[in-house]
């Protein structure tokens, strides 16, 4: 049988023991997400100048992080999956930064 090659999961330790997230944990994440939504709506009505978009995006990033970590189980995933997910978001970040650098520096020195 195939699993006799590594029955104790020793030579391939990336096959972690499977972790099931408890309903209590899900509930805490759910309550946090709703609270952050309320905060972000409330914050939008306060005039904070330049900070308004920054705060809104920071809260959105925080919400996305806890969805990825807990609802999508990344906190309990193997390193392979963690690296894959991180590289995807990082690649997107790099592409946005490079595009913005290009557009924002095009008109430099012309005004």
């Amino acid at each position: 049988m195939s699993y006799e090659q590594d029955p104790q999961n020793v030579t391939n330790p990336e096959h972690d023991e499977h972790h099931v997230v408890s309903p209590l944990q899900y509930t805490l994440v759910f309550v946090t997400l709703l609270t952050m939504t309320a905060i972000t709506v409330a914050a939008a009505y306060v005039n904070l100048g330049l900070l308004n978009p920054v705060i809104a995006l920071a809260i959105a990033c925080f919400k996305a992080c806890i969805v990825v970590l807990f609802f999508m189980h990344i906190k309990y995933s193997s390193r392979l999956i963690k690296m894959t997910v991180f590289s995807g978001f990082f690649m997107f970040f790099v592409l946005v930064m490079m595009t913005l650098t290009d557009y924002m520096s095009r008109a430099w020195g012309r005004y």
Binding site: Y3, D6, N9, H18, N52, F71, T84, F92
Partner: protein
């Protein structure tokens, strides 16, 4: 592991008969070493698909970011015609839907068939509520003639009504750029809604299979991978809501 023990016994018996390939549980196919390895292979594949989705929506976010900088005043005025209460309500609905989906994964892991079906049905209902609110929002845009195209109407931005939130009068050439905001608004929320419709279709299929007991005997991968997709669609909305609805009340300039 129970299933491995069963596999071993069955496998050994089948091997003696020369029919080893006939014994295979859906969660433990022959070409995997362990159930965990099969699970991980499935989630890796799902995540690779989701990475392509990040790039797909990412391009739209990038376009929004850039055009909002270029046509700032038009984007602010157009954005302020969206209903924040409806948007906030829909955010809550979508988060609740994601919560129900997370609980569905737990129910499948615990092999509770009844609970799994209940949570999947609740996920679907909340998804449909989201689509219903989206319908109300789109309908208003059609009535105001704020849908890009032939009949697009800028009069509200050039001569705002007294009850409009943003009472700033825009010059005509600036007001024309509001069409660009609504193009991006409809493409971004529309692609998000398309993902929701596909997801609801898949949910109906999963509910039927869950009802047959397909996912309450240790085979969780389809539920788990669908949950990844559903949460991903959640994340897109988590960014769409502040960018389209919120950040333009006080645009920071």
């Amino acid at each position: 592991m129970d299933n491995q023990a069963i596999n071993e016994t069955l496998g050994a018996g089948a091997l003696a008969d020369g029919h080893a390939e006939h014994v295979s549980l859906p969660q433990m196919r022959h070409h995997f070493e362990t159930e965990e390895q099969q699970r991980e292979a499935a989630s890796l594949g799902m995540w690779l698909f989701l990475l392509t989705e990040i790039m797909f929506f990412g391009g739209l976010f990038m376009a929004y970011l850039l055009y909002r900088n270029w046509y700032h005043d038009a984007f602010v005025a157009a954005s302020n015609t969206l209903s924040i209460p409806l948007g906030a309500f829909n955010t809550g609905v979508l988060i609740s839907s994601g919560f129900m989906m997370a609980l569905a994964v737990w129910a499948a892991e615990m092999r509770k068939k009844g609970l799994l079906v209940v949570f999947l049905v609740l996920t679907t209902i909340l998804g449909l509520v989201f689509m219903g609110v989206k319908y109300v929002e789109y309908k208003e845009k059609f009535e105001l003639r704020h849908v890009p195209g032939e009949s697009f109407d800028i009069s509200r931005f050039v001569n705002p009504t007294p009850e409009a939130r943003d009472q700033q009068h825009l010059p005509v050439d600036t007001a024309r750029k509001t069409e660009l905001f609504f193009s991006l608004y409809f493409v971004m929320t529309g692609m998000h809604a398309l993902h929701m419709i596909i997801g609801i279709g898949l949910l109906v299929w999963l509910i039927a299979r869950a009802q047959k007991g397909d996912f309450s005997a240790g085979y969780v991968a389809p539920i788990e991978n669908f949950a990844l997709y559903w949460h991903f669609v959640d994340i897109i909305w988590i960014f769409l809501f502040p960018l389209l609805y919120l950040i333009n009340i006080h645009p920071g300039r």
